[in-house]
């Protein structure tokens, strides 16, 4: 299983890293927060951690720590435009509910 990126998402990650000037890939984190409990965080990775799980999808290195992986296994990441905004969207088969404000989720 693991995680996959759409063409658009991969393109955006690459251009982000190019602009930043350094970085091996991205880290996907799931943090506890909010009214429904969990939120996604995407960060650039300069140095992977020893316990990181590593996925190569569409030529992009994605690193996930084992604790976060339980929540996002099977997730597809897309990069989309909605009206005046753009950003990454997560299609996560594990999600059971989202909080009212739409910013966090439960599994």
């Amino acid at each position: 299983m693991g995680i996959s990126l759409t063409d658009n998402a991969a393109r955006h990650v690459r251009s982000y890293l190019d602009n930043r000037g350094q970085g091996l890939g991205i880290r996907l984190l799931v943090k506890t927060t909010g009214c429904s409990g969990l939120m996604y965080v995407i960060e650039p990775v300069d140095q992977p951690e020893a316990e990181d799980m590593h996925f190569d999808t569409q030529g992009v290195n994605v690193y996930i720590d084992p604790k976060s992986l339980i929540y996002v296994d099977g997730t597809e990441m897309d990069y989309v435009k909605q009206g005046l905004n753009e950003g990454f969207e997560f299609r996560n088969p594990n999600v059971k509910g989202e909080c009212g404000c739409g910013e966090s989720f439960t599994v």
Partner: protein
């Protein structure tokens, strides 16, 4: 589900710590508030679902003589029955003096208080008021809508101003926000705000013209959009030309058609003006419109064709095209270089405006974001970034000074220190000298405008530099420094540098309000009784202290070990703890003093960090010809 961005490690914002930020379009005719919520930017509505708040304030008195202030649609409804006490289009009066307004419609409509100097005051049933106070009432109403919708007090707002607003008008807008108790993150130029909304929507790059014809102001700006950078190349316009002028032209036309000799009562006059506005809107889609006016036995009817209307406003529209041509020339570019033209402002719905813009630029203008809302939407996006909800945002706005700044010199001439369209922030200094032996003071007269004669420019401030040591004529060196900040606001200081004797003053525009006046207004205003004002001062002092400790803590975590000795670092941590302790108490003066102390102590660290930022900016992007970077 909200959209997620990539963030540097440790920078992701917890959704429930998101700050409440809003963009406010303080318009001549209507005002709006917008915010970014759940990743969507939207204008906020009142309880009955209206986004637009008419920029109208009614000043009444109840039967006990206590003042009653109504804002918005309810105030507008009183415009015909109580025209003198119903203040509309106050934006046109902001930062303006009596003499400048002589002969305008506003002078006919309202009772001005006869004051010698400074900004105009209006006489109402609830006492005298100023355009700043009227604007503050509108801002308060919008801010309340914001905090009700967003679930708490606003952490910060971006307020838009016409790009062509001069310094006095900008300062007046800031003063109004302060009176309304708002934390202003930035004053943003309206066309730049519109460009942000369009640019972030389409992702299009290239040269963009924003043609913004609002109720009372006209702006035209040329921007270059590339990878999140909005760089204003040139701006121009007319701070007192707008859709209101179309209404007045149409009203004169209607009046002439009805019965040219009839003298209309103030209330009938207002009704005719409202009819004119309605006719203007109808003529955007219809070829002719009928109107009628009744009062008592009087019953008058007439009709106007679109051709007649267009004939009446053609010169005003041509005036806007001339401004656009000048902006293109200032940027040194031809119309053919423009990639897209965007229409902003309700008055751009008039077909003649669209036709003339299209014919001048040779391309169909874009209108797909509601021209009434686009400015507020762009301001909300900027507010969201500035307040810190998007630490990774690539957006950067580089704006310019709209009107040249200078000083009066001998013979009533203006010497320009900073030319219009200079990118801000900017600082320029010029040296002057004394012209009499033993001259101990010098009058400094700050001007804004493009013309050569003092009489043709706007006087912003006058102040005297005193205490110049006695010297022969021409020996003293008076250095005058103009600093324009990122809000486009000017501060001026002057000093005698030749002998090391220094006297400096910072001025506020003569049409603005002094800090004491603002404090006074705050104290006397109904919503801020004495205890309120004190409570607010404590709150503000605590906020400042909190902001400083928070910023310093995160700075120390990031760069403390790399940039500071253990000793200095420890000292700053102790300072943070001490300030946090004091801020828990209620001694405002003590909190302020300790904040200032810590701020000064951390100054060198902040400077080191800023130097580091500059070095990092170009790191990893070096060419062969690069020089070694100095290490500090």
């Amino acid at each position: 589900m909200a959209l997620i961005q990539i963030t540097e490690p440790g920078q992701a914002v917890d959704p429930h710590q998101r700050k409440r930020a809003a963009g406010i379009d303080l318009g001549t005719t209507n005002s709006l508030i917008a915010s970014v919520r759940e990743g969507q930017t939207e204008t906020l509505q009142d309880v009955v679902g209206n986004s637009l708040l008419p920029s109208v304030v009614h000043y009444g008195a109840d039967k006990n003589g206590a003042s009653e202030i109504t804002v918005g649609a309810a105030a507008l409804a009183k415009a015909t029955t109580d025209p003198m006490n119903t203040i509309a289009s106050a934006k046109r009066l902001l930062g303006r003096g009596l003499a400048e307004l002589a002969g305008t419609e506003a002078a006919e409509q309202y009772a001005f208080v006869p004051v010698q100097e400074g900004m105009v005051q209006l006489q109402t049933a609830a006492g005298s008021t100023s355009p700043v106070q009227v604007s503050a009432e509108i801002l308060k109403t919008l801010a309340q809508r914001g905090s009700e919708t967003l679930g708490g007090e606003l952490d910060g707002v971006v307020i838009t101003v016409p790009a062509y607003f001069d310094d006095a008008q900008r300062q007046a807008t800031r003063d109004a926000a302060e009176l309304a108790g708002l934390q202003v993150l930035r004053l943003l130029n309206e066309p730049t705000a519109a460009a942000v909304a369009y640019g972030l929507d389409s992702g299009d790059e290239g040269l963009t013209v924003i043609y913004d014809l609002g109720g009372g102001t006209f702006d035209v700006s040329l921007l270059r959009l590339s990878r999140g950078v909005f760089e204003v190349l040139a701006t121009g316009g007319n701070a007192s030309l707008g859709g209101d002028d179309f209404d007045h032209r149409l009203m004169s036309l209607m009046r002439a058609k009805l019965t040219p000799d009839l003298v209309l009562s103030p209330s009938l006059n207002r009704r005719l003006l409202m009819q004119a506005r309605f006719c203007k809107e109808t003529l955007s889609t219809e070829a002719t419109v009928n109107f009628e006016l009744t009062e008592g036995d009087l019953h008058l009817t007439g009709s106007i064709s679109r051709a007649e209307f267009e004939d009446a406003i053609a010169d005003l529209v041509d005036e806007t095209i001339r401004s656009a041509r000048r902006v293109m020339r200032d940027a040194g570019l031809g119309e053919e270089a423009v990639d897209q033209v965007v229409l902003v402002g309700g008055a751009t719905r008039v077909p003649l405006v669209r036709a003339k813009v299209e014919s001048y630029f040779g391309k169909a203008p874009l209108t797909h974001i509601d021209p009434d809302r686009v400015v507020a939407l762009g301001a909300a996006m900027q507010a969201d970034v500035l307040v810190g909800n998007k630490p990774d945002a690539e957006m950067l706005l580089l704006d310019v000074l709209p009107l040249s700044l200078g000083l009066e010199t001998m013979g009533g001439l203006v010497e320009k220190l900073i030319a219009r369209n200079t990118p801000i922030p900017v600082q320029r200094a010029q040296e002057f000298t004394t012209f009499k032996d033993g001259q101990s003071a010098m009058l400094i007269h700050v001007m804004q405008g493009e013309r050569e004669q003092v009489a043709d420019c706007r006087s912003l401030a006058r102040f005297e530099l005193k205490g110049i040591p006695a010297m022969v004529a021409g020996a003293a060196k008076i250095r005058v420094v103009f600093q324009v900040d990122a809000d486009g606001l000017l501060s001026v200081s002057a000093s005698e540098t030749g002998t090391g004797v220094t006297a400096a003053v910072v001025v506020k525009p003569s049409y603005g309000l002094s800090d004491q006046e603002i404090t006074q207004m705050l104290k006397s205003s109904f919503a801020h009784a004495q205890e309120d004002a004190e409570a607010r001062m404590l709150l503000e002092a605590r906020l400042d202290a909190e902001q400083l400790t928070e910023a310093l803590r995160s700075a120390l975590a990031q760069d403390g070990e790399a940039l500071l000795s253990d000793e200095v670092r420890l000292g700053l941590f102790q300072g943070i703890d001490q300030l946090a302790q004091v801020a828990g108490g209620s001694d405002v003066a003590l909190i302020k003093a300790e904040t200032e102390k810590l701020s000064q102590a951390s100054d060198p660290f902040a400077a080191l960090r800023m130097d580091q930022e500059v070095r990092r900016a170009l790191a990893g992007h070096t060419l062969d010809d690069v020089l070694p970077v100095e290490s500090s």
